[in-house]
Symmetry: C2
């Protein structure tokens, strides 16, 4: 029985260590795939089409929006970034659990369009730690620090919209937490309706 | 930070291997405790007060019902069996994840009284396997087989009320599934409201 993958959206305060955590998760278990975004920005040295990004012209990107080929998209400065539906769908159909790192607005859009997506929020273990990370190494300007605090405050309001909260204390424990959550999610009743119906049907037929 | 335990209710078709699975889970991880039932039946040889059961006189048991000291109870033949609230509460407060093996009616009562309990249903991997287990080794009477099929059919109707479905194929995989589910549940947003409020509050105070 080929089981369908689960789309997991990962967000968190900047500096929460999401990137490192996901890298470790993918190194450790081969059941995961990272979602690859489409973008209109130019490839940087060493970046490969379909690995870091799907590189698109603005025209092609706008066409993807038009054709509803993106689960969500956003514009940063002069470039578009978006999540191609077809790529995610293919990975899920192949049984891969797809990890999508995205900020809170994008996460909400994903949950609207794909209600069975799992939303994880990565938080630091304590306020002291959060402040330490937000303040940086004392080399930031007052302005940057203020902007980070404001951003963290806005993001923290949305924490309740997430399904799970991961506290990033020990990297390895966190990676295991994410893995356990997704493995557990596969066993949720609502993801196994077909199996349940089959057993119920066959018992009724007795 | 002492984290509160989670009450997990485990049900499943008879012969699904619940007992073996829970025994293995408790041997492997020390974060779990089995719920100990109160009963009016007499202790059998080797049974210890507070280990297999809390042994009660009928009078004492009826008093526990009266005083609402039981999360649920039922009568089988001439004896009462019930789940003492105080024992479960104490274990949860001590941070233990409490496992309670119980049939479907009892599971529903628990969920009503303790909505944050997690309900697991253990199912066999296939209908063939279920039938094999229900039919026994060919030594059962037609009557017993019929009763088992009817019981399994009734139980299967309630499968949808459970939060998770464990498919008992490989014992060790199942034990890990249960462990992952409960570990994941600890990270659910609704179980971490206090932590979230604290972070939100402190960020707001900035």
């Amino acid at each position: 029985m080929m089981r369908r993958g689960i789309l997991t959206v990962v967000s968190g305060f900047s500096g929460a260590g999401k990137g490192t955590m996901m890298k470790r998760l993918l190194e450790k278990y081969d059941s995961y795939a990272l979602s690859v975004s489409a973008t209109t920005r130019l490839p940087r040295e060493g970046e490969q089409e379909g690995r870091e990004y799907f590189f698109k012209t603005t025209e092609a990107f706008l066409e993807m929006i038009e054709n509803e080929e993106l689960v969500e998209y956003a514009r940063y400065v002069d470039n578009f970034y978006g999540t191609p539906k077809a790529y995610v769908e293919q990975q899920l159909a192949d049984g891969k659990d797809v990890i999508l790192e995205i900020e809170i607005q994008g996460a909400r859009k994903i949950k609207e369009k794909i209600p069975d997506a799992v939303l994880l929020f990565i938080a630091p273990p304590s306020m002291q730690e959060l402040k330490r990370r937000l303040l940086g190494r004392g080399t930031e300007t007052e302005e940057i620090i203020q902007a980070r605090l404001e951003r963290a405050q806005k993001e923290s309001v949305g924490m309740e919209d997430y399904d799970y909260l991961i506290i990033n204390d020990d990297l390895d424990v966190c990676v295991e937490d994410v893995h356990h959550i997704i493995r557990g999610e596969h066993r949720r009743t609502e993801r196994n309706r077909e199996f349940i119906k089959q057993i119920q049907g066959e018992l009724k037929g007795e």
